[in-house]
């Protein structure tokens, strides 16, 4: 039953992901991405990553995508202009062929690899406590570095986005 559910969610995820790259309106694209991220959270639940699934929604769907929507609205973006010209068509076709080939190749690669499948997960697997114990012992240094990364992001974003106070010469 879990496998059947997975196939259903996976199919929906792929459809939503295609919506992201195919819809001409950036707002709709962003919404398709929200749907994709939400469905991926469901996939994470099926893979027993409960905590990560919740974080996926909180961080990605609830925060990062809100920022994307804000920027799209802030810049008042409309539909992309339909692109014309033979060179453009050829390039697009090549991109699609290459992408599909990449998907097939990766899928075949995965099929060939014997990753094995563990039986039922240990109790508490993927819960907050299990992840936390690993995060705050084995991954302590990356965790602290994360705060520096976030600090740099705040400073960088504020500097870039805020208008300059001092009048420039030009």
């Amino acid at each position: 039953m879990g496998a059947a559910l997975f196939l259903l969610v996976a199919a929906l995820t792929v459809v939503a992901a295609l919506g992201v790259i195919l819809h001409p309106n950036p707002v709709k694209s962003a919404l398709f991405l929200v749907v994709t991220l939400f469905l991926l959270a469901a996939v994470f639940v099926l893979l027993e990553a409960h905590m990560i699934a919740a974080l996926q929604i909180i961080v990605y769907a609830g925060a990062i995508m809100v920022l994307f929507l804000f920027v799209i609205m802030l810049l008042n973006l409309r539909n992309d202009d339909p692109e014309r010209g033979r060179r453009r068509y050829v390039l697009r076709g090549l991109a699609w062929i290459g992408g599909v080939a990449l998907a097939i190749e990766l899928a075949l690669l995965v099929r060939g690899a014997s990753v094995g499948s563990a039986g039922s997960a240990p109790a508490g697997y993927g819960g907050a406590a299990a992840v936390a114990r690993s995060l705050y012992t084995d991954f302590l240094l990356p965790f602290e570095l994360t705060s520096i990364l976030l600090l740099a992001a705040v400073v960088g974003a504020v500097v870039l986005a805020q208008k300059q106070r001092r009048p420039t010469l030009s």
Binding site: L46, A63, F70, L74, A128, F143, E144, L150, V158
Partner: protein, 120 residues
């Protein structure tokens, strides 16, 4: 573990049916006007003529708030697992989190000083 989510799935399904039924209620049962659509379909601005195109750009302040939100949201998300196990981690765990918060607190102080939180 997955059994826990049966309730969530059922609530999602039931909730979707209820809310969809509610939202589409007026489209099904509501009155329909036949005349003067052009006036009625105008944007409502208390009877005044429309004040111009709707989707103008707006202050970059809102965007700054969204950036700060992302960063602090990630910070909060890191604290939840910590809050579960900090008893077992003891004093070292506390120091880890204090360092983390101090570095991000520095970020907040910077943003504050720079005036990104000020609305004028």
């Amino acid at each position: 573990m997955l059994d826990q989510y049966i309730g969530v799935v059922i609530t999602f399904a039931l909730g979707a049916v209820i809310v969809l039924g509610m939202v589409s209620g007026s489209m099904i049962f509501g009155a329909r006007s036949t005349s003067r659509r052009a006036v009625k379909d105008e944007v409502f601005e208390c009877g005044n003529p429309s004040s111009g195109p709707a989707r103008g750009r707006f202050s970059v302040h809102f965007y700054l708030v969204a950036i700060l939100f992302i960063v602090f949201d990630v910070e909060v998300v890191f604290m939840y697992p910590w809050a579960i196990v900090f008893r077992q981690l003891g004093v070292p765990g506390l120091i880890e989190m204090l360092t983390f918060v101090a570095i991000l607190g520095f970020g907040l102080a910077y943003v504050w000083r720079r005036g990104a939180l000020a609305w004028d």
